[in-house]
Symmetry: C2
Subunit: 192 residues, 2 copies
């Protein structure tokens, strides 16, 4: 089970709750990645949030303190790494809406990035979490790219259920998305 | 030719000049990656600098301003992506010392990361730039891992020349390191 926000405090708590919910799904992926890494199954990391640093102070010799910086729009996706010898790349999105996934949640350059990765022989997909349903799906990037190119504005929940695969939730890993990757991209189920 | 710092102003100018020099080599790699991407040769990006955000202000609804943050130690390397269907991962270091590369310049967890990537079938290496010599070498991660495991403190310039490969510098790409990757990992020279 993914823990949805209850008493958990985040720093930027004044921000819209949407991004906080996103964080929780990301945490589950990060925990799963740490588990995969520890078990030598894959080497996958979340990229740091891109920040534009404007001003840095040096109150002490050893510690640089950033006192003015801004969030930048990411030029790629959040996660990448290597699995079973293949380059793997994906974006993670959590949505409150129970009936559809609004495509504007993924930036155009992220779509273009996933397409490039696919063209170069990598494994590229999106992980979409439906908060209210406590369901998380993995769907190949082709579906999102196609919808974008058809200028659709969203993908329905039913479409995602039919074209994606439900990721099993558990204790370790919290979200076993690599088993879904096995079944979609390698046509095998790897027993653990 | 790589442009070494002349009149170029960087934000954190009070910091040690070592990191600034590192930036210039990084710029050359970033420019080369943009060239490779535009020419559909590879999809390789620099990861954002990892930052620990402590406090965020919201002076306007639309613009979050980070007012307290600190640099974090990177858990992985700076660059990764996909090239010729393979996962590629590397660290870039520029050194002022003309006779050797001090191994402490690469963190232990970065070495461990490169080793993991290699074990999982990826291409992992380091790019080392000797500022004073205006020479940049690409060397497979095995050499750095081996030196670390033998508890050596540095790799001599001669060792790097003999075990690495000189990267050709030019206009576009500024540093054609993928041609060296071709010759080391694919046993081919790709004509452009």
């Amino acid at each position: 089970m993914i823990k949805y926000p209850t008493n958990k405090q985040v720093v930027a708590s004044k921000k819209t709750s949407t991004s906080n919910r996103g964080m929780i799904l990301e945490d589950a992926i990060n925990q799963s990645n740490a588990y995969y890494l520890a078990n030598d199954r894959a080497v996958i990391y979340k990229k740091p949030t891109p920040i534009q640093i404007v001003k840095v102070d040096y109150p002490r010799r050893s510690a640089a303190k950033i006192v003015e910086a801004y969030f930048k729009v990411a030029s790629t996706t959040d996660f990448n790494g290597i699995y079973r010898g293949k380059y793997i790349d994906f974006e993670v999105k959590q949505v409150a809406n129970q009936s559809k996934f609004i495509l504007a949640n993924i930036h155009l350059h992220q779509i273009q990035h996933l397409k490039k990765v696919h063209q170069h022989g990598g494994i590229a997909f999106v992980i979409i979490g439906f908060t209210g349903r406590d369901e998380v799906y993995l769907m190949d990037c082709a579906h999102v790219i196609q919808a974008y190119e058809k200028r659709e504005t969203n993908l329905s929940y039913d479409y995602i259920v039919n074209n994606g695969k439900l990721i099993k939730q558990g204790y370790l890993p919290q979200l076993d998305y690599l088993s879904v990757v096995d079944s979609i991209y390698f046509n095998t189920e790897v027993s653990q």
